[in-house]
């Protein structure tokens, strides 16, 4: 699991360590340069200051003065190459042919050598390079040690600061932890760092949407439970009547009633399921290409027998070629519900017409009937779940138009109810954006 605190610590400390290393390297290189310059000058001075008349070995004490501490070695030859003097016979160096500065690699490391001609003698002063390097390394280390000591302190500071910065997240997490599924009130946004606020705001938006969805689901379930009571009451009463029946005829009648009660409960459950499935946000929207002509033909042939048995003409009027993007099955349910309603509310001898026309970029599905129509004041409410108009004498679940509305909404379609012309009658138009 990635941790902001650990990542920050790792990267900040790595960066710091790298900076320390780079700084150390720079100090080392710079100090070495300066030491080279300084010691080279020192070597030169030393060669120049050697007593020109001295051919005897110098007393060791004076050699100390000459900087034996710096590892200096002095060698003197005469013109003929005869060795006149070695300050340290143990660390003898080969004689250099060239005069001036040179760097010599020996088995004891590299040496800086300065050779000069002094009154017919060759004077050679040498110093191991390690002296200079040690000096530079020492300088670099002395500069870096305090920084290195600071690293853990910095680490701790980072740890604590990040922890404090993330505290609101912890608080939020534990506040959310304690919540029950139905406590969806917004999280407090006051006193939050700017970096966290967008997260909390987004979370609050989600909570609000969730609450609305939950509310509408609760209302739906309450409505559904209430509505299911009616057919269940009927069934329960019919069962009791069947139990009480003493003659075959009574029993027969009771069972006929019982069956129709059961069919009605089943129809209501079916309608509820359809409605729930078409509820926006419950199922993923389907975007297939739907041929509306085929849809119209299919629904007409499905309802032709019912219309014929009720002596109602069911015809297709204008039929344009139109396709939309959507869910064929859902659109079929939608049109079926409209046609079903139209047929049932139309008196015998009347007519129900289905039409499909184009209007600009839209396809318009129309179902008109010669029934009693719906007064303008009731037109908005008929789409409410379980709303049944007082004048309605026909059995029904009160869900048909709610289902139509849900399906239309899912397809971005607008529904209008208007008087049929010529009246009386109702015309339902569904305006679908064409694919």
């Amino acid at each position: 699991m990635s941790s902001i605190r650990r990542q920050l610590l790792l990267w900040l400390l790595s960066g710091l360590a790298l900076a320390v290393v780079v700084a150390g390297a720079r100090i080392y290189v710079q100090t070495l340069d300066e030491a080279n310059e300084l010691f080279d000058y020192h070597l030169q001075q030393m060669a120049a200051s050697l007593p020109s008349d001295s051919f005897s070995p110098l007393p060791p004490s004076s050699m100390e003065e000459l900087g034996a501490g710096d590892g200096l070695v002095v060698q003197i030859w005469d013109r003929n190459g005869l060795e006149l003097y070695f300050s340290r016979p143990a660390s003898r160096l080969p004689q250099r042919a060239a005069l001036g500065f040179s760097t010599v690699e020996t088995s004891r490391g590299s040496w800086r050598v300065f050779s000069a001609l002094e009154q017919n003698n060759v004077v050679q002063v040498a110093q191991p390079m390690s002296v200079r390097r040690n000096l530079a390394a020492g300088m670099a280390l002395r500069a870096l040690v305090p920084l290195l000591l600071l690293l853990p302190v910095l680490g701790m500071l980072i740890w604590i600061t990040v922890g404090r910065g993330l505290k609101p997240l912890d608080r939020m997490a534990s506040a959310l932890d304690r919540r029950t599924p139905d406590s969806l009130e917004a999280l407090p946004e006051a006193g939050l760092p700017r970096e966290i606020r967008p997260l909390v705001q987004a979370l609050n938006d989600l909570l609000a949407r969730l609450e609305r969805a939950l509310e509408s689901q609760k209302a739906f379930i309450a409505d559904a439970a209430h509505e299911l009571r009616t057919p269940l009451t009927a069934v329960q009463l019919q069962i009791q009547l069947a139990e009480r029946a003493t003659t075959d005829a009574e029993r027969e009648q009771a069972f006929v009633r019982l069956k129709s009660g059961q069919a009605r409960a089943a129809h209501l459950v079916q309608q509820l399921l359809t409605l729930a499935r078409q509820e926006p946000g419950i199922t993923a929207p389907v975007h297939a290409s739907v041929d509306l002509c085929e849809l119209v033909r299919m629904v007409r042939s499905e309802y032709a027998p019912m219309a014929a048995s009720m002596h109602i003409g069911l015809d297709i009027g204008e039929q344009a070629q139109a396709g939309v993007s959507g869910d064929f099955e859902a659109l079929r349910v939608m049109l079926s519900n409209l046609v079903d309603n139209a047929i049932r509310y139309t008196p015998a001898g009347g007519a129900v017409d289905i039409a499909l026309r184009l209007r600009g970029r839209d396809a318009v599905l129309e179902v008109s009937d010669t029934g009693p129509g719906i007064p303008p004041g009731d037109r908005a409410r008929v789409f409410d779940r379980f709303y049944r108009r007082d004048e309605t004498q026909l059995p029904g679940s009160g869900l048909g138009l709610a289902i139509v509305k849900n399906i239309a909404d899912r397809h971005g379609a607008a529904i209008t109810l208007e008087d049929r012309t010529p009246g009386p009658g109702l015309r339902v138009s569904i305006v679908l954006p064409r694919a």
Partner: protein, 220 residues
């Protein structure tokens, strides 16, 4: 006893009417609030069974108007609204009892009997007149401790008369108590039942008040 059932759902209305008729009640059934008011004006009912979610006029409105007019008929609300607030509202609007759907036919009949008992000022579940005892719940009848077998209509008739001893009921009133709208009333049926009851319970049990009707005399 004659009841008015107001229930917009055809299946429930039909079943309740059939069930209560089997229990010996005469039941008239209407399907909306306005029809209920018309029926209440035209007939004398012993109890009103009222659904709340009615077309044209809601059950609560019907009830409120009824009580405003001073009608004291016992009212039993039959509804799917089961929230406590709804029950309280119903009872406070003047209902005597509240039954939530789905309900049991036996319980409905028992509650109707309880309402009728209270209406006639009785606490005793059985009706006693002298040594005649009627049990409305079981339709059992005993005279001086001996069981008597009566048909449903005979029971309904003696029950109506014995519930209020000393009160004279006309033939038309008794017919109303025995038959709902859906039942054919044959001519002189009341006389036929009175005759049968006198034969089974003794001629003194039902007195004929000439030109007015019948009564069960008060027993001292």
């Amino acid at each position: 006893m004659r009841l008015l059932l107001v229930e917009d759902d055809a299946m429930i209305g039909e079943s309740v009417r059939a069930g209560l008729q089997q229990d010996g009640f005469a039941v008239d059934w209407v399907q909306d609030g306005r029809a209920a008011e018309l029926a209440l004006e035209a007939n004398a009912y012993d109890t009103l069974l009222l659904d709340l979610g009615l077309p044209r006029k809601s059950g609560l409105d019907v009830l409120a108007a009824l009580r405003r007019r001073g009608n004291a008929i016992p009212v039993l609300i039959l509804t799917a609204r089961d929230a406590v607030a709804d029950r309280v509202k119903g009872l406070d609007a003047g209902a005597d009892d509240y039954l939530v759907k789905p309900f049991d036919l036996e319980e409905l009949a028992a509650r109707v009997r309880a309402l009728l008992r209270r209406k006639s000022g009785r606490a005793d579940p059985v009706v006693r007149v002298g040594d005649l005892i009627l049990n409305p719940a079981t339709h059992e009848v005993s005279l001086a401790g001996k069981p008597v077998s009566l048909s449903a209509r005979e029971f309904a008739l003696i029950h109506a008369l014995a519930a209020r001893p000393g009160v004279v009921y006309s033939r038309a009133q008794l017919e109303e108590k025995l038959y709902g709208w859906d039942q054919e009333v044959e001519s002189n049926t009341v006389e036929v039942y009175v005759h049968a009851l006198r034969r089974k319970l003794g001629a003194h049990m039902i007195q004929n008040v000439r030109g007015v009707g019948y009564m069960v005399p008060r027993q001292s």
